[in-house]
């Protein structure tokens, strides 16, 4: 096995036992990145020198007998909407193309303090608005399982990087599925924690009533290790809960699901999802049964019918407010004009991409007289009813299974022209975000064509530890995802996009 194929747990254990050095691992991961990046385009900035320097510092510390943290020597990649001191943070947007923060996001600080090594910043849809990682200043990221296909989004760069073996763990942000869906498309594990579990300080906001820092990895254990580092009170984010978190890795001691009740979503209409993904859902339910759980069908009528509409009203209204700070004066791009209003409009029109402009204008409309009363106000009430639907469900079940995405990863460029269709791809992820619930994408292997299959496991808010335990039992039966090596010949044989 190559060093770049190891999990974060295996790296930390191996480095501490001096089986190999943090520098060896970091150079192996950088080498993997270097050999595949022309194909994948997953990273916006690669920090080779600082990563090697940090790895050497970890090795020196261990040689002195210092405690170097639970993720000692594990390279990681952060989505390029996490502020990183001295490293440009673009959000894949022209408006921040040359912006370099002078501070680290809390999540970056926590990972660095835990001994993890930041080696790159990854590609995303501009300002995290998208589901395919195609809307970026550096162009689209490709799916390492099939280079003709999208990796999902908006954290597609982080997902592709983990799947391809650039790093064992990466950070993304999940607003309406932006970590769970790319994890599903790239065939890895990805977790959106409960809203309030992880500090959002230093994450460039898209919709702050929904955004949540979320780890991606090739094992549930690595998700638990990352969450244990990330989840803690932070007075710099007033939405970050101050309660004492459990030890998330303790949940992995769960051996079976005896005494657990698992719901399986059964409220399908025929055209709602891909048959192979439906098969993966059935397999996951069977795994739960074989591990001793009681499994029963459930429906989520309010969440499924109203979730996407409620999500877009909420997220777009949030976005229009949050992106008002890009005015061309304090940071970012600046295009002059004779008056202040001209300068604002010149800067924002030329520097935001089309999808971002559309969402800001629509969000602005939704907060004005008339539209507010007919859209934003009702959406707030639907969200309350949706939460009540979840609460009722969790009075009877420990967790429930549903698809992450209704479709397999689609061909590059295929859905971009139809925004409403693209939004409907989020039907199973956005309700979970609206309820603030934790959700984990669990890999369920590959199809005969090598495309990834997965399911989503959802738990009650603040029940992240129990959810990780159940996910680890399912993973033990389904098998852990391996590193993907892109098949360049497949692209050539089948003639590229859309073939």
């Amino acid at each position: 096995m190559e060093l770049y194929e190891l999990t974060a747990r295996e790296i930390a254990d191996g480095v501490k036992a001096k089986k190999f050095s943090a520098e060896d691992v970091t150079r192996a991961c950088l080498g993997r990145l270097s050999s595949l990046e022309t194909d994948l385009n997953a990273c916006i900035t690669v920090m080779e020198d600082s990563a090697v320097a940090k790895a050497r510092a970890i090795d020196s510390g261990l040689a002195r007998g210092d405690e170097m943290g639970p993720l000692a020597g594990a390279p990681y990649i952060a989505k390029d909407n996490f502020c990183s001191r001295g490293v440009r943070t673009t959000c894949s947007s022209r408006i921040l193309e040359n912006w370099t923060p002078t501070y680290d996001a809390s999540a970056i600080s926590y990972m660095n303090d835990a001994g993890a090594i930041l080696m790159a910043k990854s590609n995303l849809d501009e300002f995290a608005m998208g589901s395919s990682t195609e809307n970026s200043i550096i162009g689209p990221t490709k799916n390492p399982r099939d280079l003709r296909r999208v990796p999902g989004g908006s954290s597609g760069g982080s997902a592709a990087a983990v799947a391809a073996g650039y790093c064992p763990v990466a950070l993304g942000s999940d607003t309406g599925g932006s970590v769970r869906q790319p994890a599903a498309f790239c065939g890895i594990q990805g977790m959106k924690p409960s809203y309030g579990e992880v500090s959002r300080y230093g994450i460039v906001a898209y919709a702050s009533s929904l955004d949540q820092v979320s780890p991606l990895a090739r094992s549930v254990e690595d998700l638990a290790m990352a969450l244990e580092v990330l989840a803690r009170p932070d007075p710099r984010d007033t939405t970050c809960d101050a309660y004492d978190r459990p030890k998330f890795t303790d949940a992995l001691l769960l051996q079976d699901l005896k005494g657990k009740r698992i719901g399986v979503f059964a409220g399908f209409e025929a055209e709602m999802m891909d048959a192979e993904l439906y098969g993966a859902l059935t397999s996951a339910a069977d795994h739960c049964k074989s591990a001793g759980a009681v499994v029963e069908p459930i429906d989520l009528p309010i969440a499924v019918k109203y979730g996407v509409a409620t999500y877009y009203v909420t997220a777009l209204a949030d976005a229009s407010s949050q992106l008002a700070c890009y005015d061309g004066i304090r940071y970012g791009a600046h295009i002059d004009g004779p008056t202040l209003a001209d300068m604002y409009a010149n800067t924002r029109t030329a520097s935001f991409g089309e999808e971002v402009r559309r969402r800001i204008i629509l969000g602005t409309a939704l907060l004005t007289e008339g539209y507010y009363q007919n859209y934003y106000g009702p959406a707030l009430k639907v969200r309350t009813k949706m939460s009540a639907e979840f609460d009722e469900l969790f009075s009877r079940f420990d967790a429930y299974l549903l698809p992450t995405s209704p479709s397999m990863p689609y061909m590059l460029g295929m859905k971009e022209e139809d925004p409403t269709r693209m939004y409907l791809g989020d039907v199973f992820t956005v309700p979970i975000s609206l309820g603030g619930l934790p959700g984990i994408n669990i890999s369920m292997g590959l199809t005969a064509d090598g495309l990834p299959l997965s399911v989503q496991l959802v738990g009650q808010r603040y029940d992240d530890a129990r959810l990780l335990g159940i996910a680890s039992v399912i993973e033990r039966i389904a098998g852990r995802p391996g590193v993907a090596t892109p098949d360049r010949d497949k692209t050539l044989r089948r003639g590229g996009n859309g073939a």
Binding site: T100, T102, Y195, G196, S209, P233, P235, T238, T239, D241, A242, Y243, I302, Y306, A309, Y312, V313, S320, A324, G328, I329, R330, Y331, G332, A333, H334, D336, P338, T339, L340, D342, M343, Y344, A345, N346, R348, T349, R358, I360, I361, L362, T364, A365, T368, G370, Y371, N374, Y375, P378, A379, L380, K381, V382, T384, K385, S387, P419, T420, Y423, Y462
Partner: protein
């Protein structure tokens, strides 16, 4: 209730958002917004009589920061990141062309 925008409202909303829409792009932007407004009108279909607005519940609210001046970065660090400065200040064009 389903609502829509016309060309004039589209341009007014764009102005409020400080974004310019080229004349040849107005119809496309208007259609795109109307598609989404039409779809999102679903939120009005559910009977929510007596339902309160959604708010986040927390297990333990974080304590508030002391209400006092905070240490922050120095003036130079802000100036280094600013896209345009004049002397010691951010460069801001005049508010109105008529002044």
């Amino acid at each position: 209730m389903k609502m829509s925008v016309d060309r004039e409202i589209t341009l007014r909303m764009a102005r409020a958002a400080q974004i310019r829409v080229a004349p040849e792009d107005v119809d496309h932007m208007m259609d795109s917004i109307n598609d989404i407004l039409s779809f999102c009108a679903l939120v009005g279909d559910l009977d929510c009589t007596g339902t309160p607005d959604f708010t986040w519940r927390m297990k333990k609210r974080p304590s508030r920061r002391p209400d006092r001046e905070m240490d922050w970065e120095d003036r130079e660090s802000f100036k280094e990141r600013a896209p345009a400065i004049e002397g010691d200040f951010f460069r801001v064009p005049r508010i109105s062309s008529g002044v």
